[in-house]
Symmetry: C2
Subunit: 195 residues, 2 copies
Amino acid sequence: MECSTKGNIDITGCRVSLYPMTDNFSEVILGSFDKVDTRAVWSQTDLFSTLYRGEQESVIDATQALFMSAYQSDVHMVTELTFSKGCPGDSDADRYINGKKEKPNQEELPDDFPVKCKYSFYSFGEKDYMEEIATIVEMASEMGLNPQSAHYVTLLEGTASQLFVYFERALQYAHEHLNHYVLEATVSVNSPSEK
Amino acid sequence: MECSTKGNIDITGCRVSLYPMTDNFSEVILGSFDKVDTRAVWSQTDLFSTLYRGEQESVIDATQALFMSAYQSDVHMVTELTFSKGCPGDSDADRYINGKKEKPNQEELPDDFPVKCKYSFYSFGEKDYMEEIATIVEMASEMGLNPQSAHYVTLLEGTASQLFVYFERALQYAHEHLNHYVLEATVSVNSPSEK
């Protein structure tokens, strides 16, 4: 589970699932694929998600581009993101690594828009994992994302761009301090429950 | 994050989010709420999810009823489930506990239907967490759910009823052997990608 063969490699991955709540969901999802520059990541789409694997900065860049490209101002959409790194069973395969940490999508991103997010940060094999979670949440507070505690998740609010800057900082911290971690986030736009 | 105040209480929770990919998503979601008998759980709905908290059997029962009641044979729907128990910061509040492990929805469930599932089982503060994951996945194999390894998740296939029987067995094992765990599952029905 979570990995297939033994290894110990510096690969970040993200599973991105888009759920546009419209009859035209297929068009929205497929249309966003074409707008992502995937030259700096390995990518694959399965029944559930599109998976990007490679250097952390490049994986976040591709994830942000896919999410923001699927946004439609009149469609309620939820996106599920699973960032993961350091699984003891990960394999040195299915990745693009060239040491350049490229972000080819940052110049051509769509206009920014407001988002709500729930997320959980998980760290494995650490006795003091609750302290690491607190550190990660504190970073959201410093960035003005107004983290609110709820059962099993932390809630954030801001814009799409702010959220991905936060993900990059949080995952950079995790990369420097932790061996195996997962950030599970659910991002909602245009929910009728907000009105 | 994941919890608000200190405590050490035997409360299972599940966050259930329904994503029916149709223009009528609100009707599908709201219609399913009315069909769940919530007498054996504490429940609350926020922007992202409906949250059930209480005894493990009762929480799984309510979760299954909400998911199965939202099923429509002509609608692609994805459901996100976060089962969690044992967070060191959980509070002895927002729960229904009477020691009876009631499952009031089992007699009136809708007809069964095929599902695909991706899921990850997370155990915290344990050095041998990878072995616990392997045990949980082996249980899916014994139940005929054909677990397949993929990056960051395990894939399952079966019917809705089979899947929830598995969740109950897996979480029962976790309850007996682990302190703090999360089962994150995404269930898909009627995906056009399957055709």
